[in-house]
Amino acid sequence: MNQRAVILIALALLAACALPLLVSNYRVFQFTLVLVYAIALLGLNLLTGYNGQISLGHGAFYAIGAYCAAILMDKFGVPYWATLPVAGVVCLVVGFLFGLPALRLEGLYLALATFALGVSMPQLLKYHHLEKWTGGVQGIVIVKPDPPFGLPLSPDQWLYYFTLAVMILMFVLAWNLLRGRVGRALIAIRDHHTAAEAMGVNTALYKSLTFGVSAMYTGVAGALGAIAIQFVAPDSFNIFLSITFLVGIVIGGLASIPGAIYGALFIQFIPNIADEISKAAPWAIFGIFLIGFVYAMPLGVNGAIRMLIARLARKQQDGLRTAGSPLSENAAGKPENDSHTAG
């Protein structure tokens, strides 16, 4: 990563840390949800953006994570931070197991299979034989944790920092994973499955593992989300949630890590803005926003930003070239290889 990117990230982190101290608790709560969705979207992006496996059922993994946290906290008194690893592991296993039969399915058919998962989740959660654990249709109420060590923070602010820390950890893990062999293997499988197989990539293992890891990320997000909202109920996790996640990664930018954050901001705040614009048909306004974003930025917000940066860099290059700087052809009599820097 170049120096500019490092500086930008550091600034962003600084802003993120300062945020809860500057705004009301309600806004802190909303931004905590943005962080939660960012983790969930990164999970989905790993699977769909980087690995090309469409999932219309990630809401189910979010639900499993949420219920893990709720059941552990409510029925077994487990402390909130300990529920995250459990939610992660459970979803990793479930995701991997789901990924195995899904190996045979491509494109639309995989979308249908995941769609089936997403659609049937609420029914499974309401199943009366499981009611003892899941609380059935009544759901489970949980209590927000207080800040530890008597820190002078409100529970909302503490939860925000906790979520931020988890998010940074998971983002760094993903970044590490993606920039090495694993990342290249995933993208190879997405772009040309048969060729990747022919090159020796163990596609079956990679695809199932990606399913598992992707589910793990979304499951951890679900657990954090449950703690933030303090309530889980089966109908909160319907197919619309899965579709919202898909919308989030497309708007944010497929196959990009910052895209998860842009997408999370979109799915959290745009519905509220739409509601303020029109009381009569707010979702129509949301739909217009959706279509507008896709028209203007077909590669997502991240794609648009990268194009902008590339265009600015090229302008800078042209500017330097014509201004008689050492980089220009005139000065040294021989053309500098500025084509290397423009790459």
């Binding site: 639309l108 089936a116 919308v247 497309v250 048909a281 739909g287 959706l290 077909p298």
Partner: protein, 290 residues
């Protein structure tokens, strides 16, 4: 035994609903190679148009034909105006545009017509055929209409040059252009036809489930499953899939697992079928060359 027959017949009746919407989905897939999430809402919106016409005094068949015509035009307009700008974008971006369309149609319809359910008339007689207690005349009639539409569609794609041109435009736009096919207009035509079929489906469905803006939401779920289990490029497969899903859902719910899990089990079974036959029962297997 009687209960089983009853459930199977009820399943065929609901299956007929899924089949007709699945047909519209397959139509648009064959024409554009996209699965249109907004198909249900388009069908619902066109049915409301029909309702408005009937309330304004048009007779049923006049309103029916007029609605089919209007739906065709609507489909063409949407393709040219809304879908054209994202023709070359990644698949998922197009999916998001469909979702946007879905949400807009649902919201606008609810705003114009409110959310209370309305009755929609049926062209078929009110008395059940032969006085049977299993299926109403309308349910039988709706299945008949679906089969007729299926036949027309099949003949269109198989035996007419226009149908061939449309299939070519969807499967290989570059080569199709080289042969002189106007790919853009083929896509628009495909959308128009799909919308018209959707409107017919909506008008057949509304008398059974009552007209309200959310009427297609549950049906679309099953229609997708039906289209894919039958093979997404096979209209006959879609209809077969629709009946299969309807009967499966009913029989499972009544005799095997109870209604509480019937959604989950029906869909698990579908996944099971797909694992064995990954392109559905009648879908074509695509061979990719490395």
């Amino acid at each position: 035994m009687d209960a089983l027959i009853h459930q199977v017949l009820a399943g065929l009746a609901t299956g007929g609903i899924y089949a007709s919407v699945a047909l519209a989905l397959v139509m648009i897939y064959q024409a554009t190679h996209h699965l249109n999430f907004a198909q249900g809402e388009l069908a619902m919106f066109c049915t409301y148009l029909a309702w408005t016409l009937i309330n304004a005094g048009f007779g049923y068949w006049a309103a029916f034909l007029l609605t089919v015509g209007l739906s065709f035009v609507l489909g063409v307009v949407i393709e040219r105006v809304v879908i054209r700008p994202v023709e070359n974008s990644p698949v998922l971006a197009v999916v998001v545009v469909f979702i946007g369309l879905l949400v807009i149609l649902n919201s606008v319809t609810g705003w114009i017509y409110s959310y209370t359910i309305k009755t929609f008339p049926s062209p078929f007689p009110a008395e059940p055929l032969f006085g049977n207690k299993y299926m109403s005349s309308h349910e039988i009639g709706a299945i008949g209409v679906t089969l007729v539409v299926l036949l027309l569609l099949y003949s269109f794609f198989r035996f007419t040059p226009l149908g061939l041109a449309m299939r070519a435009a969807a499967q290989n736009p570059a080569s199709a252009k080289l042969v002189g096919i106007r790919v853009g207009w083929m896509l628009a035509l495909g959308w128009g036809l799909a919308c018209a079929i959707g409107a017919v489906a909506g008008m057949m469905v509304a008398p059974i489930v009552f007209l309200d803006p959310n009427m297609m939401a549950g049906i679309l779920l099953y229609a997708f499953a039906a289209a894919l289990i039958g093979g997404v490029d096979s209209p006959g497969g879609a209809v077969f899939g629709g009946f299969l899903v309807g009967v499966l859902e009913n029989v499972l719910g009544a005799f095997v697992i109870g209604n509480e899990l019937k959604l989950a089990v029906a869909l698990v079974l579908i996944i099971g079928v797909l694992v064995v036959k990954p392109t559905g029962f009648f879908g074509k297997v695509h061979v990719i060359r490395v």
